[in-house]
């Protein structure tokens, strides 16, 4: 066991911190405030010239996808180094991770041609994928998806609707799960396609979230004001856009989702509030002369939450350690995905009871605290426990895969 980073990793952390201190200019911050619209870091197709320039600089340093092989645009670095970079940028509210981009699944299941086509451009920021997973009646039962892809010579013709296709309005591509066989059990008839967004027949419509009016301040957990629904009407794509084999999409998709859960972002989005409230209490001078730090019940609660946050951190470190040893997960990724989101909710709710009526004040309100961060977070934190595999599904995975408990009659 070794609970410390190496001197080289600590040096990398200092380098990233110095970069952030220099490059996070007021112009960048202003663009971030303005474009909190669903893309954690708008890499293309948006009107944020300073942010795009900043992302280019970050990518040029080799700080995106550091652990990816050199031949695909990465640095061949240890996963933990990539984690350190992601952590430092996340603290500046910038997401440089490739989590959710499809990159992990493409690296694991793509053809050589696909890896060479997509990975370098995902890493450079030229490409980005919107998630095309769930559907109007699907919810968390992802395998029930109905969007169809029908073979027509060397092409597939796709018809259907995808929900919560976040960033689709900024993305170059969509990572689409579609049904290619309706005559087999639901998990066995699914395939994955990598489709350019400018393919004819694709329509993106905004879905506005409860963070829309007013917009959430930067740094809110799930502060995005919009996601999307995306329609596919006779969309023709070449068979070479398929990732992996036909009808093997469920396994590839699950594996990709599992790999995407590992990293700095989900952990940090859940624990940042712990730091925020403690630092606010220490620095703000309190509320009309009253400091929550004087209240023994609040002190006890803050310590309890801080300890939970350490557990979230260490569970993330455990996942990192497993990746370094070859990535043989049984339930540890699911464990992280139970603990971090639920902890985030507990902290978010506890803070409202520390600040009382101040915690209801939204961005732009007189007397709002930290631009209404704590109020907006109350509208977003629970989302982390719902998407990307709900905490209930994660507990099921721990119970069945991790502990070997049997499946129920309706499981």
């Amino acid at each position: 066991m070794e609970f410390a980073f190496t001197p080289e990793q600590e040096a990398l952390r200092r380098e990233v911190r110095a970069f952030i201190a220099k490059e996070m200019t007021p112009a960048v911050l202003a663009e971030m405030e303005e474009h909190n619209d669903g893309h954690p870091f708008p890499r293309n197709n948006c009107h944020s010239p300073h942010l795009i320039a900043l992302f280019k600089k970050i990518a040029e340093r080799g700080w995106v996808g550091m652990s990816y092989p050199k031949e695909y645009g990465g640095q061949g670095a240890e996963r933990i180094s990539q984690y350190i970079v992601e952590e430092e940028f996340h603290r500046a509210y910038i997401n440089v991770s490739l989590g959710g981009s499809g990159a992990a699944a493409i690296l694991a299941a793509g053809t050589e041609e696909q890896k060479r086509c997509y990975l370098p451009k995902l890493i450079s920021g030229e490409f980005s994928f919107a998630p095309g997973f769930t559907e109007p009646r699907g919810g968390a039962d992802l395998a029930s998806l109905q969007c169809r892809a029908v073979r027509d010579g060397d092409y597939y013709v796709i018809n259907g609707q995808k929900m919560f296709t976040s960033f689709a309005h900024h993305s170059s591509h969509i990572y689409l799960m579609a049904r290619t066989n309706r005559d087999v059990p639901k998990h066995k008839g699914i395939s994955i396609f990598l489709i350019p967004m400018d393919t004819p027949g694709i329509t993106v419509r905004p879905l506005w979230t409860i963070q829309n009016a007013p917009r959430a301040p930067v740094g809110t957990t799930y502060g995005a004001c919009r996601t999307n629904e995306t329609f596919f009407d006779d969309v023709r794509v070449h068979k070479s856009t398929m990732l992996g084999e036909e009808n093997k999409g469920w396994n590839i998709g699950s594996m990709g989702l599992n790999l995407d859960r590992v990293g700095a972002n989900r952990y940090l989005m859940s624990v940042q509030r712990d730091e925020d409230i403690i630092n606010w209490i220490k620095e703000s001078g309190g509320l009309g002369g009253y400091s929550p730090a004087q209240d023994p019940a609040i002190r006890d609660k803050l310590a309890e939450l801080w300890i939970e946050a350490q557990v979230c951190r260490l569970m993330t470190m455990r996942s990192m350690s497993i990746v370094e040893h070859g990535g043989n997960f049984t339930y540890e990724g699911s464990a992280e995905k139970v603990w971090a989101p639920e902890h985030g909710v507990r902290t978010t709710e506890a803070i409202t009871q520390m600040l009382g009526p101040y915690a209801q004040l939204l961005n732009g309100s007189p007397r709002s605290i930290r631009s209404g961060l704590f109020a907006h977070n109350l509208m977003g934190a629970f989302q982390s426990g719902i998407n990307h595999g709900s905490v209930q599904i994660m507990r099921d995975q721990v119970a069945r895969r991790g502990l070997g408990l049997p499946r129920g009659a309706k499981g």
């Binding site: 410390a4 310590a303 300890i307 350490q310 260490l314």
Partner: protein
């Protein structure tokens, strides 16, 4: 950063687990609950042969000089088997001598500890059970070549079989800066010592120990006069982190018994583990224990590195207190009525886990230490970096 066990650590854990699985049966645990000494001397000797008592003691005195992390793995296995051995009290007191005692004190007791001849314990708590310096009222007064000790200590573990006891005494009135305490190495059979065993939940051997004009040679002072608190605090911190390991071992075994039971016990037409309410309960038990384990080994690792670890120790104990108790209670719940029966073994774990969570600091005490470090110190806190904040070099 690698929070997983390496090969050597795994081997050490497996060896201890195999030995205890074979030798430390529930029947033996039950027998020792009724035994006046509470431990089987043969197993204690065997433990010494396996290197457990001397694991983190210097080689010079017969120890193995391995890190506390390794000793934690052993205590975890001892907890898993609810082994009736005076191991925790012995290693905690012996480590205080090894780290802060004089050369003569080390030579006097440590070789005996390492070879299984000497059992040790420590005495700190009094009627006010908090682990704070101002709670110590027991007096030690210089007299000729001796100190004379008067006072009463509570909850002294294994005193009934202890040869040597490390005793915290007041040698000057309480003052700011926690001066005025001193630590002594006391022969447990000294004239003037009497003790009364408690009847405890864990049916272990704890005593109230009265010191009535007990003479202790001046050479038995550990560290400097009136400067005992930092030594005591380090001893208690090591003891707390090691107790966490012991609780976790017991709690994981307790949870595993519930999980196995849930796989085979059929009700309403299916194994109860197939009901999501039970499956999710089992998942939460394991995740809580995993969390406690990560916190505990981080604390032990920091202690090994000589890094500040007060906050990490308190994080571990506050969390283990609650999550291990919950795991034990949920295990009872999953087992149903049979778990309430004396003839069924489950209570051997439940009674110990619950009792151990009450020792060496309650959740409230430990969270108070954490909140003081978070709130009453200057500087911004950042997760993953030390608290209280230290200037970066």
């Amino acid at each position: 950063m690698d929070v997983l066990l390496n090969e050597e650590e795994k081997m050490m854990r497996d060896t201890a687990r195999e030995y205890l699985a074979a030798e430390c049966t529930p029947a033996l645990v039950r027998q020792m609950e009724k035994d006046p000494r509470g431990y089987p001397p043969g197993m204690w000797k065997k433990a010494a042969e396996l290197g457990w008592q001397g694991m983190a003691l210097p080689e010079k005195y017969g120890g193995l000089d391995l890190p506390l992390v390794c000793l934690g793995l052993i205590l975890e296995e001892a907890g898993r088997a609810v082994a009736p051995l005076p191991l925790h009290s012995t290693v905690v007191a012996a480590l205080a001598i090894a780290r802060d005692g004089t050369e003569a004190q080390r030579e006097a007791v440590l070789p005996g500890v390492a070879n299984g001849d000497v059992i040790m314990t420590w005495a700190f708590q009094e009627q006010d059970p908090r682990l704070l310096p101002e709670t110590v009222q027991t007096q030690a007064v210089a007299n000729g070549n001796d100190f004379v000790i008067n006072g009463t200590k509570l909850f002294v573990d294994n005193f009934v079989v202890a040869d040597q006891c490390v005793v915290a005494c007041r040698t000057a009135p309480a003052s700011k800066g926690n001066a005025g305490l001193s630590l002594f190495l006391v022969d447990a059979r000294s004239a003037g010592i009497s003790h009364a065993p408690f009847v405890t939940l864990a049916k272990d051997k704890q005593s109230e120990v009265a010191f009535n004009n007990v003479r202790v040679p001046k050479a038995n002072l550990i560290g400097e006069l009136n400067q005992g608190w930092p030594i005591i605090e380090r001893m208690l911190d090591r003891g707390t982190a090691l107790l966490c390991a012991q609780i976790l071992g017991a709690a994981r075994k307790d949870a595993e018994m519930a999980i196995e039971y849930a796989k085979f016990r059929v009700a309403f037409g299916q194994p109860i583990g197939a009901f999501q309410s039970v499956g999710h309960m089992c998942a939460d038990m394991i995740l809580g224990i995993d969390g406690g384990s990560l916190l505990t080994y981080e604390a032990l690792w920091r202690l090994d590195q000589g890094l500040p670890a007060k906050v990490e120790v308190s994080q571990a104990k506050a969390f283990c207190n609650e999550k291990c108790l919950a795991a034990a209670r949920n295990s009872q719940s999953i087992h149903g009525g049979i778990g309430f029966m004396m003839e069924f073994d489950l209570h051997l774990w439940y009674r110990r886990i619950t009792a151990w969570t009450m020792r060496l600091g309650t959740s409230y005490e430990h969270r108070a230490r954490v909140s003081a470090a978070l709130l009453d110190t200057p500087g911004r806190v950042v997760l993953g970096r030390p608290v209280p904040v230290v200037a970066e070099g």
